[in-house]
Structures are given as structure tokens and as C-alpha cells.
Amino acid sequence: MRYLPHSEAERAEMLGVIGVDSIEALFGAVPEDLVAKRPLELPPHSPEYLVEAHMRQLAGRNHAAGDGPFFLGAGAYRHHVPASVDHLIQRSEWLTAYTPYQPEISQGTLQMLFEFQTQVARITGMEVANASLYDGSTGTAEAVLMARRLTRRSKVLLSGGLHPHYRDVVRGYLRDDDDLVCLSASPSGQGDLLDRIDEDTAAIVVQTPDFYGHLRDLKRAAEAVHAVGGLLIAVVTEVVSLGVLEAPGALGADIVVCEGQSIGNALNFGGPYVGLMATRQKFIRQMPGRICGETVDAQGKRGYVLTLSTREQHIRREKATSNICTNSGLCALAFSIHLSLLGAAGFTRLARLNHARACALADALEQIDGVELLNKTFFNEMTIRLDRPASGVVDALAQRGILAGVPASRLVPDDDQVNNLLILAATELTSDADIEALCAALKETLA
């Protein structure tokens, strides 16, 4: 077995030192009838080339996003990741290190996290950020709980433009909680939750660009909720948008949660991704997750450590701010490397290019009979209304090798107003030829 270093002779020698006859004797505390008498019904060990063949066969049964025209978004976006990012994150010292609990021999990870926190704070326009959470959806649930702790109130309003999976995760975390108000889907981008705010409101959760692609007015939302002493949680599922849009922090957000997948991370069929969380300095002691801070060593040299751990489960146990133990370290590293390769100039160019590609897509879609564009505003994603259910159209186009977008009904079932809605995204990878192929196929299908 290629991963197990001992020879039989070495095992025997080690058993001699221990003073037992067999490895089985070491399992003496296990009641005898519980030790599997015969091997489990699983295949035996296998050489690398056969395992690879099996996995390649499974991978080959999928239609990869890059195999043809592709327009899916809805919380996960296909962007170009520079080759150097994946090369760097596979270095042993990044890939096979543990959480930096021994800071003297983990300065690489710690300095990277400090840089990551600074980058996240700057793109979101906030004062501080943590070292990442699992993803945007769980980050949103954590933000809601954090806002409740900060305000000591419990009423939370989720905007109808919040990604339905995010809403479901918040609901799951706050099971059967009467103080959680989820507004129904708002595909038009109109109507919102501001008139539902009252003196008991702990926080409102507003996503921008929202699930349907509309850009939402965070400033107005912040003013409305601040007037009653509540907090604004801003959610961004497409973090590239922050390259052209005003930072949520500059508009009054109190907690910003982003899905960071777009920068540095592949689509991966949904995970692993990386949740970003940023907030104001005064709120840090209620922020969940790991935080890295600067300090000095015994000789006065600058260095970094995990800090404020008195918030965390391994110290506080049942009094912790969250049960979170890990962050999304390697995905945060990929994010940080990609963002440092972009820099302000590159990040802005990338965002402008995404918007330009989305404008080209919107212009082309608007020319098609039977297609109505719902968005007056968008960044790189938009919603169109078709003259028939969108899921059938998407399936028909998939047969032709075109992945046309996400039917809203996939995430918002049993709601007639969304059945005909199709959500499409464009990124820097969307070519004119892709758009032409999509539009030609749509025309034929809708004809």
C-alpha cells in the first residue's frame, strides 16, 4: 500500500517494543463482538492508474462549464484564475499546514491572513475583517446572529432579493424563529423591506447586486435601519462587483458578508468557497471566526498571531460567539493571491470588463422576440422573462451544448411569478461568439 510506510518486519519489531503479539491486541478495549470479523464489503486497494481511470470516467460524464457557451451565475461565477494562483496554493507549505496554532512556525499563513483581512476590509470599505468563514451563505447566518448579539434585539428582516439558498440557511440556523421575517421573492427589484422596519428591528439583510441582478440602494437602507438603532447587513454574492460599485461600508453597512469564490476559486460544483466578513472596529468582539492580529516577538520583531480567541469555542466552550472552528484557509489564500495579482488597477479593469460583457449580453437579449429584460440596473447578471417556463428552455439549450442560465424556479419553487424567469450572468470569459450562439438558440427555441 503506497501510503503506508511500515514493512511487516517493522510492524513486528514495534509490537515487540510495545509488548503485544498483534495489532489486534491493541484494540482490546473494544468489545470483541464489535470488531469487524471479516473485511467490509468494499473494494480492495487499487493502483494509482486505476483510481485515476475511475475518477476520469466519472468526470467525463459531466458537461464542464468551459465545454461550451455558459451563462450561469446566481451566487457562483466562472472567472479566469491566473495559473500562478493554483501553482502557489499547491505548495506543500500552504497546502499541508494546519491552523496556525504555533505562530513561530506559521508566520507564512498568519501574515497572509493579515494581508487577506486588509484586502477584504478595503474592498468592502470596512475597518476590520476576519480570516474568512465557510462561504457566503453561512456567513450571512453568522452575521444575523452577530447583529442580534450586538443590538440585543431579535427581529431580523431578509430582503426578497436575498439569494434563496442564503435565506434558507439563515432560516435553518434560526429554526422556527418568529422574529425572522423573510420577504417574498422580488424579481422586479421593486418594493423592499424598508417600511417593515420598526423599533424592535435588530437588522435588515440586503443583497446587492440582488439575486435577480438588480443593484439595491444600501444608503437608503442604512439610513432607515439606523434611524431605529438597528444594523444593516450587506450581502454581496459577486465580489467582483466591488471593483466598480461603491463599497458597502461607504454607504453605511454595519456588517458586510461576501461570497469570495469569484476571486481565485473555481466553481467546484458549489464548494469549497470562501466567506468574507467585515465590520466596524467597535464590533470585533462579537464577530465570529478566526482573526489574525499583528504583534511582536520576544526580540521585538513584527509578527502575527491568531487573536481575540476569548470569543472562540476552544476557550469559551458553551459561551463562544459561534461554534466555528475552521475558516476556509486555502480558498482565502487563493483569493488573496488573485487579488494581489489584480491590485486596484486590475480589479477595477476586471469589474468594468464584466459589466461591459453583461451590457453586450443584455443588448443582444433585448433584440429577441419573447424576451423581456427585467433589469434597469445590473452589474454582470440579469433576469429575463420568457413567454414560457424557463426550465424547459434551459434543458432544451443544454441539449445543444449551451448552458443558458439558471431558471429562477430552480431556487424559488411553487411561485408562478418566477416560472418564466431566467437569470443569466456574463463575465470576462463570455465571448461575442458565446452570446451569438445563445441568442441564435434562444430564437429558435422560442420561435
Binding site: L26, F27, G108, D168, G172, Q299, G329
Partner: protein, 516 residues
């Protein structure tokens, strides 16, 4: 000047010259923001002309202060930073409870196949049949290894799995009209996540003391059980490195009281392929794919924590899950039906980790997984046997499972602490063991070697441990009190970091202004 086992000078003699040893290849690396600027970029992108008409007046007005690097600058920055880290590939990493085993590179290669990595989570199901098959196959392996009824793959880490597992217990009891059960029993030796998870769901936590021998007494459990108890959260093998001998009786007592048995599966590596947790009577258990099934720890994540469920809890498994259609194709159920719980994450969870874990399982096979568990247990007991005469074994009467617990009695009154001892290991090229956990012994040192280590490595580690133990006893405290001497940094001031938190970089002049 004294020398350590690697021929390096030790002691407080001339630490500044000692620190220079090897420093030629480990230069300090400035921060990204001190190297780059807002104009540099390592990505070539066209300058797109855009109109702001569709941005609704929400365009960024404040300048974005984000340092950029060209590709050669970025390579150097991140390669240099990486060299300041210890890693499994570079050296022994015996962190108890963390299972720092070898991460096979085939796993990485497979996870990067475009057919897995370049898949959108919301593609039509007909275009992702291979990905759904990975989820189905992984589930089959996990169910077979544990003899349980259902598995929820989506939790993103062990703690997330615990949360989900306890949510299913809560849902099951509410469905039975037993929402009044508000107490969760947690042994003192438990991971901190256990009480944190229980509290997160509104339970109150009742601690169960450990017996003298480090295990949980079924009598203590029986005494704590009442009609208000919802569940027990028990780690088995436990965090003292011991198999709980009463586990079956504990499960029976818990079930007889109408409560559920949540098993923390962090230590599954000790028994995979040898003991099936379902046979012990567990109702829910998370499995850390990043521990037991070798997906890389990545400097602190991403992890993955699928949860296996007993028949009683299976109906409450959350969406999404994979189901086979009548025509043989695979379906992904995305919306809660019957009693299934709401999703606990967007999309399908950690697909990248599913691919790696399945690749690992196929490589090992059922026989290789059992052998890996056995070798892990062999290695822990070998370390215990080689050190027992000089280092205090906390619970000497039992064989260890895959990790062995020592405590600080052997250097009592030498002035050396567990922390000092751990830091001295760094100077010898080893990552320290888990310190001060579990809490049931004083100055705990929990050593988990895993199956990946050769006898040669274990011997080198034991030689160093013996040498350190003898030095501590002989009063050579300098070797410990200032350690580490040869790491990229000496001991860091954690108190200062917490008292005056500096969490983001500011230029020096900005900080000076803020201080005025």
C-alpha cells in the same frame, strides 16, 4: 555550548547568532502593501469602455487602495511567505485530535479535472451526472464504514457537521412532541465545539466528569439522564486517546431515556474499517474528511464534515441530497420534503473535498483503510512504549488508540511548562503536539502520529522527546524558557495582540496620526 540532537547549539548563550542559522534562505518578507502599489498588476485585461447608465448611480467614488503585484513579484512574495510555515510534507506534525496524515497528490490532481472543478452547482442535472455519482459513491463508502442509514454530505467542517447532527436530533424530538428536552450531556474531555454547538441550538450543557482512567462511566451517565435530556455528545475514541469501554451500555442508557447519542467522529481514524460506529448505537456522527480521509488542511480549511445518521434520524437529513430516479439517472433533491431539514449551506457542500476523499478511499480500498487505522494505533502505542519511562503517560493502564495523552507531571517543579516543552520541540524540527487539551489532565500533551509516519521518524521523535525530558529534569531550563530559538520568530506576544488589536495594515504615518 551545548548542542541539540541535530547538531545545533542550544541554550541562551548567543541567541542572535543562533537565529542566523539557516536565515540566509529565510529572509523576512515585507507585507504585500509594502511591496506593491495600486498601479501594478499581474493580470492583463483590456480596458473596457463602459457607460454608467445601468449602474444606477451606485458607482464607486472613493479610490480603491489595493496593492497589486506583477506575476514575478507575486511568486516571490508567496513562495517566501510559504517558507515560514511548518507543513506535513516537510516534517512530523503530531497534533493530537487533528490527524495530520499525508495528503496524496492524486487527490489534488483529480479534484482539478475540469469535469469536477469547472462545474457550476446549478447546471441542469443531466449535465452533472458524474458529479452526482461521486456524491452517491462517497455516501456508499461512508455508510458501509459506519453501518448507518443515511448521510448528509453538505456540512462544511466538523463543527458544521456537529451543528447539523444536533439539528436533526432537535427536529426528531420536536416531531415526537418532546421539545421540552433542553439538556445535552457533554463529558469534560469533549472538544470545545461540542458545548458550543449545543448552546448554539439553545440547549443547556451538563458536564459529565471523567473517571480516574480517562473514560466515561455509564453510571455517571445514567445518573445525569432525565426526561429533560435531549442527547449526549460523546467522542469515541475519546480525546484522551482511549476507546470508551462502556460505549454500548452508554448508548443503551441514553436510548432508554428517550435521548439520542451524538458521536463526535473526530477520532474516526483510529477505527475506520475495524469498528462500525453504527454497531455501537450512535445516532449521528460527523466525519472530518480533512482528518480521516486526507483532504488537505490548507492552513485552516476548507474542511468537510459529512454526518451519518441512524434510522431514527435519517428522515431529518437536510437537502440537498442525491436520489436515484426510476430510470437509473441521478436526481438532486433541493427542496425540503416530508421531514427533511432545510439546507445548511448554499449549493451542494464541499464537492472538491468529496472528490479528494473518494479518491483516497478508492486508493486504500476497504483493506487499506483498516490497515491505516491499525498502523495509526500501532504508531501511537509505539511512541507510548518508547517514552513511558521518562514522560508521564496520563492513562497508562489502557492501550492507546490512535493518539496518546501525556501530562506535565514528569517535569513538575523543574520550572518548565507544557508550553515551554512544546516550543523546545520546534527547535528540533518537529511541530509540537496539541497542548493543554483535553482539559481533564494538567498540562496535557496529546500526540497523534497517524499511519503516515515511518518507524525512522517515530524513533527520531522519541529520541528527541527523551532527550528533552531528561534535560528538563536535569534543570537545563534555558533550552525551554526561551524556545524556540531557531524558528523564523521567537515567542510572540499574544497578550499585546489581544489588548491593542491591529487587524489590518495601515501605513506608519496613518497609525501615528491616529495615535495623536
Amino acid at each position: 555550548m551545548s548542542m541539540n540532537t541535530r547538531g545545533r547549539p542550544t541554550g541562551a548563550g548567543t541567541p542572535s547568532t543562533l537565529a542566523a542559522n539557516g536565515a540566509a534562505l529565510l529572509p523576512d518578507e515585507p507585507l504585500l502593501f509594502e511591496i506593491g502599489d495600486t498601479e501594478h498588476s499581474g493580470v492583463d485585461l483590456p480596458d473596457a469602455e463602459i457607460s454608467t447608465a445601468r449602474l444606477g448611480g451606485f458607482e464607486r467614488t472613493a479610490p480603491l487602495d489595493l496593492a497589486g503585484l506583477t506575476e514575478p513579484e507575486a511568486m516571490r512574495h508567496y513562495v517566501r511567505l510559504s517558507r515560514l510555515n511548518h507543513s506535513i510534507d516537510a516534517g512530523f506534525y503530531p497534533l493530537g485530535s487533528c490527524t495530520m496524515k499525508h495528503n496524496p497528490r492524486l487527490n489534488e490532481k483529480m479534484a482539478r479535472l475540469p469535469g469536477f472543478a469547472d462545474l457550476h452547482p446549478l447546471q441542469p442535472k443531466s449535465t452533472v451526472q458524474g458529479a452526482l455519482a461521486v456524491m452517491e459513491e462517497l455516501s456508499h463508502w461512508l455508510l458501509t464504514l459506519t453501518n448507518t442509514s443515511a448521510v448528509a454530505l453538505t456540512p462544511k467542517a466538523g463543527a458544521h457537521g456537529e451543528l447539523l447532527g444536533m439539528m436533526t436530533i432537535k427536529a426528531a424530538q420536536e416531531a415526537r412532541g418532546e421539545a421540552h428536552r433542553k439538556i445535552v450531556l457533554v463529558p469534560e474531555s469533549a472538544h470545545g465545539t461540542n458545548p458550543a454547538t449545543a448552546a448554539f441550538l439553545g440547549y443547556s450543557v451538563k458536564a459529565i466528569p471523567a473517571r480516574e482512567d480517562g473514560t466515561v462511566d455509564v453510571a455517571a451517565v445514567r445518573e445525569a439522564l432525565s426526561p429533560d435530556v435531549a442527547a449526549i455528545m460523546l467522542t469515541n475514541p475519546n480525546t484522551c486517546g482511549l476507546f470508551e469501554p462502556d460505549v454500548v451500555a452508554i448508548a443503551e442508557a441514553v436510548h432508554n431515556a428517550g435521548a439520542f447519542f451524538y458521536c463526535d467522529g473526530a477520532n474516526f481514524n483510529a477505527i475506520m474499517g475495524v469498528v462500525r460506529p453504527g454497531d455501537l448505537g450512535i445516532d449521528a456522527m460527523h466525519i472530518n474528511l480533512h482528518k480521516t480521509f486526507s483532504t488537505p488542511h490548507g492552513g485552516g480549511g476548507p474542511g468537510a464534515g459529512p454526518v451519518v445518521l441512524s434510522e431514527a434520524l435519517a428522515p431529518f437529513a437536510p437537502v440537498p441530497f442525491v436520489r436515484r430516479n426510476a430510470d437509473g439517472s441521478l436526481d438532486l433533491v433541493e427542496h425540503a420534503e416530508a421531514q427533511s431539514l432545510e439546507r445548511i449551506t448554499a449549493f451542494q457542500g464541499q464537492m472538491g473535498m468529496y472528490v479528494r476523499a473518494l479518491t483516497y478511499m478508492l486508493s486504500h480500498g476497504g483493506d487499506g483503510l483498516a490497515q491505516a487505522a491499525k498502523d495509526a494505533v500501532l504508531n501511537a502505542n509505539y511512541i507510548k512504549a518508547r517514552l513511558a519511562d521518562v514522560v508521564t503517560v496520563s492513562f497508562p493502564d489502557h492501550h492507546a488508540m490512535h493518539e496518546v495523552l501525556f501530562d506535565d507531571r514528569f517535569f513538575e517543579s523543574t520550572g518548565v511548562s507544557t508550553l515551554d516543552f512544546a516550543k523546545a520541540l520546534i527547535d528540533e524540527g518537529f511541530h509540537p503536539m496539541t497542548m493543554y487539551f483535553p482539559l481533564v489532565v494538567h498540562g496535557a500533551m496529546l500526540v497523534e502520529p497517524t499511519e503516515s509516519e515511518s518507524k525512522q521518524t517515530l524513533d527520531a521523535f522519541c529520541d528527541v522527546m527523551r532527550d528533552l525530558a531528561n534535560d528538563a529534569r536535569d534543570g537545563n531550563t534555558e533550552r525551554f524558557s526561551g524556545a524556540p530559538y531557531t524558528a523564523p520568530r521567537r515567542r510572540l506576544d499574544e497578550t499585546r495582540a489581544a489588548r491593542q488589536p491591529i487587524l489590518t495594515w495601515e501605513p506608519d504615518d496613518a497609525r501615528a496620526q491616529a495615535a495623536e
